[in-house]
């Protein structure tokens, strides 16, 4: 225990004397939280429509004005030339081509039904789907209006239908910032903790001081724990700092217990820092640590469910996520912060994080060699 305290004392002296460390600890969360949370939004705005209105009737103009009136769409350009419209889709200037056929109005009057062609740029599949559902919303409200106006309210007897009334729980205004902030914060503390921790250990290899430690009677677990704790403290500090920022900047409501959040945070960080240390016991240079950590980080983050819901991933991917610490922590962060989940709701996550933490920490202690 005494030995660990001496290692901690040394690490903190070195951390606070390192000129790049303090800016890292404060500026990285500040900048990432403020920029990424605003940028990583699913809110769809400014969808550019290229209009090909071959009908130019009152009805078609009214339909177009419905789109113009929506905050989500704007008419980027209009032409009769479909080829020109296609080119603007190809050059990425328009997101959507709306083709109103020549006989739009007359068909509608005669048949009570008419087609409208939409060509959506689906390079970003998510966005395309969103555009489609927004368009549907506008069309259905336009439909109702047409029916009401043309057929008269009294005459209009809609077929029996189920009307869904939606209320969004845990984020009633569907504020994406509230959804993204805990997720981005989870990633942020992971990157800061894992990278700094791994780099620190391998740096001792690079400058050769590790040899001097290896000829001392220091025990492997003491060394690893002494290397882990300082960065655990830093990462937890950044978690607190990030939550405070989110509270101030986005008015993020924190529904659950902070003690629970930090308890889980500690458990989670022991796991990822353990992985960082494990990587650096295998690697010889900071560069190698960077690359290998980056590899794991990419997989963990993209499979962790920050941008895409884990539930819609293929089964094998969901199974794989069982060993992904970010997946659990992302879930914990969001559930505790937004929903106010308690410990009993998160037993599975608790057990999983304990297992992951123990495995990574043991691996790093096992792999650290005093004798090569």
């Amino acid at each position: 225990m005494r030995t660990i305290l001496y290692i901690l004392q040394k690490e903190f002296i070195q951390i606070f004397r390192n000129k790049t460390m303090l800016p890292m600890i404060f500026m990285v969360p500040l900048i990432q939280m403020l920029i990424l949370v605003f940028a990583a939004t699913y809110d769809l705005k400014n969808v550019d429509i290229f209009l090909v209105d071959k009908n130019l009737s009152e009805t078609s103009r009214e339909l177009v004005s419905h789109f113009e009136g929506s905050p989500f769409f704007n008419i980027y350009d209009a032409s009769f030339d479909l080829a020109k419209a296609e080119n603007s889709l190809k050059s990425d200037d328009a997101d959507l081509i709306m083709l109103i056929p020549e006989n739009f109005e007359s068909d509608l009057i005669r048949d009570d039904e008419v087609g409208l062609q939409l060509l959506v740029n689906a390079i970003d599949g998510n966005k395309a789907q969103l555009i489609f559902s927004y368009v549907q919303g506008i069309l259905s409200s336009y439909n109702k209006k047409v029916i009401a106006e043309w057929k008269g309210l009294a005459e209009f007897n809609p077929p029996l239908q189920i009307k869904a009334k939606i209320s969004y729980w845990f984020n009633s205004e569907l504020d994406y910032k509230w959804y993204m902030a805990p997720g981005i914060l989870a990633i942020l503390v992971t990157i800061i903790g894992m990278f700094l921790c791994g780099m620190n250990l391998v740096r001792e290899k690079e400058i050769g001081t590790i040899e001097q430690l290896n000829v001392t009677p220091i025990q492997k677990y003491q060394f690893i724990v002494g290397k882990l704790i300082p960065f655990l403290v830093i990462a937890l500090f950044d978690l607190a700092f990030g939550l405070l920022l989110a509270k101030i900047a986005f008015n993020l409501p924190i529904a659950g217990s902070l003690a629970l959040l930090f308890g889980f945070g500690t458990l989670y960080l022991v796991g990822v820092l353990g992985l960082g240390l494990f990587i650096s016991t295998v690697a010889d240079t900071q560069q190698q640590v960077m690359f290998v950590s980056f590899f794991f980080m990419m997989i963990f983050i993209l499979m962790g469910g920050i941008f895409t819901p884990v539930d819609s991933m293929p089964d094998w991917a969901q199974t794989l996520d069982r060993v992904n610490p970010i997946y659990y922590f992302m879930k914990i962060m969001r559930n505790v912060v937004m929903k106010g989940s308690g410990f009993t709701d998160l037993i599975e996550e608790f057990v999983s994080l304990i297992v992951i933490g123990l495995v990574f920490l043991s691996l790093s202690i096992w792999r650290y060699r005093k004798t090569s």
């Binding site: 005494r2 004392q9 040394k10």
Partner: protein
Amino acid sequence: MKDELLKTETVTETNNKVIQVKNLVKKFGSFVANKSLTFDVYRGEIFGFLGANGAGKTTAMRILCGLSSPTSGEITVGGYDIYKETEKIKKNIGYMSQKFSLYEDMTVSENIRFYGGIYGLSISKRKEREAEMLAKLKMDEVKNKLISSLPLGWKQKLAFSVAMLHDPQIVFLDEPTGGVDPVTRRQFWDLIYEAAANGKTIFVTTHYMDEAEYCDRVTIMVDGRIDALDTPDKLKKQFNAQNMDEVFLKLARGVS
């Protein structure tokens, strides 16, 4: 040659083998860095390990310190078996590596506090040792300065003293005077003599042949083998040489 030497020594000295190495072999893949080394080191002697770069000196020293494991051979250091009692060995040895190994971004005092703490010295003991050491090195004024601000010679002397902080039986020095000016080198050797006079065993590698003259006994390694092992005087006689430089050149030439 070696038998002759043993005869001249007293019985207590022969029982005082502080390092015993028998048929030490170290292979890195197909490359054999140490080809069956056999030698003993006695308590309180300055044992020089000489050889050209790549002769296998550092490899052998790292094995004795427990930093590297031998491929085969029977080795004890300080009476402890190198395979089974590595951690006990570590309490009894000090090591100063070729790469400078104090923390550059910490002060002299902080380095001493850290290593003292790691070796389990009590706070009072550590402070006592620190005061003693800084007085001897005349470095009391710089104790709150960062290591990075000190000249190389000072750093080396400090590193040596820190390696002896916990009062080890044996001190391993791997080319301790590399890149240091002649005056500081002389001062460094004074420190080594003093430690040996206090009963410490000094195991030192070097490729400065003049330093070989300062050793009690010298081993010359060529190409992974021990080609000669004796006192500097006897070696000079044996090879009919004026100084150790000539001894070394004759040995090295004999190989190529």
